[in-house]
Amino acid sequence: MTSTAGVVVVGGGQAAFSVVSTLRASGYDAPVTVFAAEPHLPYQRPPLSKAAHTEPDGLRVELVPESFYRERNIDLRLGDHVVALDTAAATVVSRTGARVPYAHLVLATGARNRPLPVPGAELDGVHALRSVDDALTIGRALTTARDVVVVGGGFIGLELARVALTRGARVTVVELADRLLSRAVSRELELPLRERHEHAGVRVLTGTGVRALEGPGRVERVVTDREVLPADLVVYGIGAIPRDDLAREAGLAVDDGVVVDEQLRSVTDSRISAVGDCARHPHPNVEGLVRLESVQNAIDQGTLVGRRIAGSPASYESLPWFWSDQGDLKLQIAGLRSPSDEVRLVPGDSPERLAGYAFRDGLLVAVETLNWPAEHLAARRLLERRTPILAGDLAGPTLGALARARRAAEVRA
């Protein structure tokens, strides 16, 4: 048993996987240990709220098989989690009593669901979704549920609403804000998106608070500000809270996430990094610090830290992007919009397609698309290259046309 200190990763999600696979792909050959609290191999979360749990027996979401870790000598400790960091001794302590020294520690602890702060939230038939086990539970509940109330009109809520609809339930979405997806998309794009959900059969109540869930042990009703809704299944998705407790208890700087520098190192202790949902970091597209919850961010941050530890440091400046499949709606966002940006809505080349271009000081900063992956990809390519796109450039042609024209010009040049 060697006692050489290598990399210890706390957490077993997409970001953790990205760190360890990058380390080995980059030639790092010291010990690598992963503490994954769940009993499952690291898996993908995006499918859980989309289509996968419509087939609860066939939920295959693991990122790679167990042999991947074995072949690369990655010590994957499933079902064990770290309970304390001893930064002075550079050692972690796990629930089962394991003590593992580290040369580098990576926090990839993710986030937990914000709890529903109303009476009755503990009733049977009330679920939040984060893990694969939650997805299986909700998938089973949907086989009998008739009246489904979704609390929260964000990505997860709307994805689940459309899944429930396809399973034959009556579905109502209850959102406290005056519109859907208030943090994620512009007001301009939200209107057509809401219309499409309503047209598909989802009842949408915005500006509506939930006061209580009621029933004799099992939920039967949702009491809102406006009316009482019958419900035999309630799912809620009202945001997430970063799991930063370990870092806080160890004395690291924490502010709604572990505070890290541009290379994703803790500002308190440079032997510790944080990646994914639990990291609050600088980004060239924003003033101050930002915390992002997305697969892209988890993968890219994990890759950056894996490469840095293996000897190739860089600053984190990946273009953020997001996507959400809500029934027949594929919503994609490239870049980070701020509420004061001016958004111009542009119809696509077929009725189901739509794009929203967000401009700040006349420059394109973000693009929202519905059912238009090519336009989304064109936006990513142009925004990643920091090609300045002016509002006038988009008076007519799509970004796709613009990107093709510029690529053709480059080839000729």
């Binding site: 696979s21 989309k50 790679v64 892209q296 090519a374 989304h376 990809l377 390519r381 990107a403």
Partner: protein
């Protein structure tokens, strides 16, 4: 079940036995083929599972679907006549022995 061969940019190759009913992207990811990122998990959302089908087999595999065709114009590595998104290639015994080339970059 079909065996597929991934030719990597460094000249090495990886042989993967695909599970039934899967797509090529899943076979790559399950087989630990580096260079197939598949950020979106196979939803035709990201174009990070781009591959070049071996030209001898391109006809057997078939052309991209409409959405995929548009997306292929914006892959990180150059588009070639046999470019496909591997999440859109459904594997069957007819594709046993399929050879695909993994591009230099995906993102």
């Amino acid at each position: 079940m079909p065996t597929v061969i991934f030719q990597l940019p460094d000249g090495t190759e990886r042989k993967v036995i695909a599970a039934s009913g899967t797509v090529l992207m899943q076979a790559a990811v399950s087989g630990g083929v580096e260079g197939i990122v598949a950020e979106c998990g196979g939803n035709a959302s990201c174009a990070t599972c781009h591959v070049y089908v071996d030209s001898a087999q391109a006809e057997l595999v078939g052309p991209p679907n409409d959405v995929e065709d548009e997306m292929l114009d914006f892959t990180a590595a150059e588009r070639r006549p046999t470019s496909r998104l591997s999440c859109q290639i459904h594997l069957s015994d007819a594709l046993d022995g399929l050879v695909v080339h993994v591009p230099e970059e995906q993102v």
